[in-house]
């Protein structure tokens, strides 16, 4: 299979920060807002270079979403920054009415998504945010896999007219996306061609899927790996084309199986090409404190869990 090289572990949130730095230099309409988490969102460089285009709102996320909506009226492109939990669940109605329903060009940028936030525990580990955001009409939902892809996605969404939810995380993970790869919203990336099973993965689970595919290859199983960085709009064509070839699919995400990527894939296939599917996701549960690796293991979100799901779904193939 195709080999991917980890260019050096890095966190996706730093990819966001790097993307914001570049946007600060290239797009005068981009403004940043933050709810007391500048260090966590890695946007200090943007602030240093563009102090007049940064708004510190304090610990007041609802107000931040409303201010962001207002800033669009006047032509600005606001990027809000806080943890994923406080970017979505805490402010759902503000996003729904003032941003989504009002059609405002706000970029909701959310760090520390999922269990890999680690030791802070379940109060901060949102596993429902993809579902919340994808249910909003007109909302684009993106969950990039590594530093380079998060940087590219950050830059790309500034050019997209309309509200976007950009989800990324805290831990340092493998960085394998080519630094010069352009980010195309809604365009799935074929990472490894295979014939026996399709693995569609998003976010941190993409790298785990590549490891799983390598392990499976050693067992004589040919796994196709597709990076679904954009959950909405979903690249249905890429998924359908792949499962027509492989005949079964595993979805992999750091999110509840209710409302996540897996459900979007299942819906697509139920309509267009019914296919056996296994879900690598949390099982309608909250997270807990622990190291990212321990939590990925316990909640079945690592390459071993993907490998197991592949073996299970292969059994269901006609």
């Amino acid at each position: 299979m195709k080999k991917y090289i980890d260019q050096g572990k890095n966190d996706t949130r730093s990819g966001y920060g790097a993307g914001m730095t570049e946007l600060g230099r290239t797009n005068p309409k981009v403004v940043a807002l933050c709810a007391d988490l500048v260090g966590s969102l890695k946007i200090q460089e943007f602030i240093d270079e563009n102090p007049e285009r940064f708004f510190q709102v304090g610990i007041a996320e609802a107000n931040m979403m409303g201010i962001a909506a207002g800033l669009t009226i006047g032509g600005y492109i606001p990027f809000t920054g806080t943890f994923a939990n406080f970017s979505t669940g805490r402010v759902y109605d503000q996003i729904r009415q003032s941003i989504a329903y009002s059609g405002k060009n706000v970029k909701i940028c959310a760090s520390h998504a999922g269990v890999t936030l680690g030791e802070d525990g379940a109060t901060h580990q949102i596993l429902e945010d993809i579902g919340l955001m994808k249910m909003l009409p007109g909302m684009t939902v993106i969950n990039p896999c590594d530093f380079n892809q998060t940087k590219a996605a950050t830059i790309a969404i500034a050019e997209h007219q309309g509200p976007v939810y950009l989800r990324f995380g805290r831990p340092k993970v493998a960085n394998f996306t080519p630094a010069d790869q352009k980010f195309e919203i809604g365009k799935a990336l074929m990472l490894n061609e295979g014939t026996d099973v399709t693995i569609v993965a998003t976010g941190h689970l993409v790298w785990e899927s590549l490891i799983a595919a390598e392990n499976l290859e050693n067992q004589g199983i040919s796994a196709e790996v597709i990076n679904i960085h954009t959950i909405k709009p979903l690249d249905e064509e890429a998924i359908i084309k792949s499962v027509k070839k492989t005949g079964c699919v595993v979805s992999a995400e750091e999110h509840n199986f209710l409302g996540g990527l897996g459900e979007s894939v299942a819906r697509t296939l139920a309509i267009h090409h019914p296919t056996p599917q296994a879900f690598v996701a949390t099982q309608d549960t909250f997270g807990e404190s622990g190291t990212p690796a321990q939590l990925m293991e316990k909640y079945g979100l690592n390459n071993k869990a993907i490998e197991k799901a592949v073996l299970e779904v292969l059994e269901k193939k006609a």
Binding site: I67, A68, L71
Partner: protein, 297 residues
């Protein structure tokens, strides 16, 4: 539809200062519009709409500097944000009579396929509306964002907003109130409609607001009052005074005392008509108390 000629009410001459009598006639006509709109679909919110009629008439016809036509960004003009979106009848009537969209469209209020949704929205592209409101407590944050955009654009125009008093029970307001003062958003005039009523009764019974003025002042706002928000002259004078206080480092708050249901005697001094439509007989009484001035839609 946005191309409709502006200021049809006043002969198309925006420069000409409307006489007080003309504005009073407009207010009476707006009141007719409100009760007729709500009656027709047997739903909507007449109480707060009637109470804020003078405010809307003054704001859109005497106070705000407005460009012709409508564009979302509104650069080079004053902007208004309605936070308590349920008083959409008065908003729609005043927007239509200011020329933002055809007057006949008031006939479509709350009907299927209409741009005049129960609560105001940008979703159907209604000219004059820049944000959806209805879920309460969100408008001040939006107004602050628009005020910040004005500053970034070096646009000296002012942001006006209106809030129900009961709406101040929503916590987001106090986040916004803290921000506006703390960050010196001094191109913002936020008016609180202090009618003392909300759906379940008097505000002071449902959830006491206490001394709203002192609360805003404690957060660092420049606060003034319009003691009779149903006296057109007082509203105009108050808004002009507020405008003169902008640009001095503090956001400006107007506590405007109004009577919910003002102008229709049986709707006044009660929360009963917050969100209830008059029946046929009640409509006739309401219209008799507000004789036609500028022509019904």
């Amino acid at each position: 539809m946005c191309k409709q000629k502006f200021a049809t009410t006043f002969g198309g001459n925006l420069k000409k200062m409307p006489q007080l009598k003309e504005l009073q006639d407009l207010a009476t006509q707006v009141r007719r519009d409100i009760v007729r709109m709500v009656h027709k679909v047997n739903s909507g919110h007449p109480g707060g709409s009637l109470g804020c009629t003078e405010f809307f008439v003054a704001l859109y016809n005497e106070i705000m500097e407005l460009k012709e036509g409508f564009d979302m960004n509104g650069i080079g003009e004053d902007l208004f944000f309605l936070s308590n979106g349920h008083i959409s009848p008065v908003y729609y009537s005043v927007l239509a009579r200011r020329g933002y969209f055809p007057l006949e469209e008031l006939n479509t209020f709350r009907l299927i396929d209409s741009r005049l949704q129960g609560h105001p929205t940008t979703h159907e592209g209604l000219p004059g509306v820049r944000i959806a409101s209805g879920s309460l407590g969100q408008g001040m944050s939006v107004a602050i964002g628009a005020a910040l955009a004005k500053k970034l654009n070096n646009d000296p125009h002012i942001i006006y907003s209106l809030h129900g008093d009961g709406e101040l029970q929503e916590g987001q307001n106090w986040e916004a109130i803290m921000f506006a003062a703390g960050k010196k958003v001094d191109n913002l005039i936020a008016t609180v409609d202090r009618n003392g009523q909300q759906i379940d009764g008097a505000t002071e019974d449902v959830m006491p607001l206490g001394d709203v003025r002192t609360k805003f002042e404690a957060f660092g706002w420049d606060v003034m009052e319009i003691e009779n928000g149903n006296d057109l002259e007082a509203v105009i004078a108050g808004l002009k005074e507020a405008k003169s206080r902008t640009g001095k480092g503090k956001p400006v708050c107007i506590i405007m005392t109004t009577v919910m249901g003002h102008g229709v005697d049986f709707m006044m001094h009660t929360h009963a008509w917050h969100g209830k439509a008059p029946n046929d007989e009640q409509l006739e009484v309401a219209l008799a108390q507000n004789p036609e001035t500028l022509g019904d839609y």
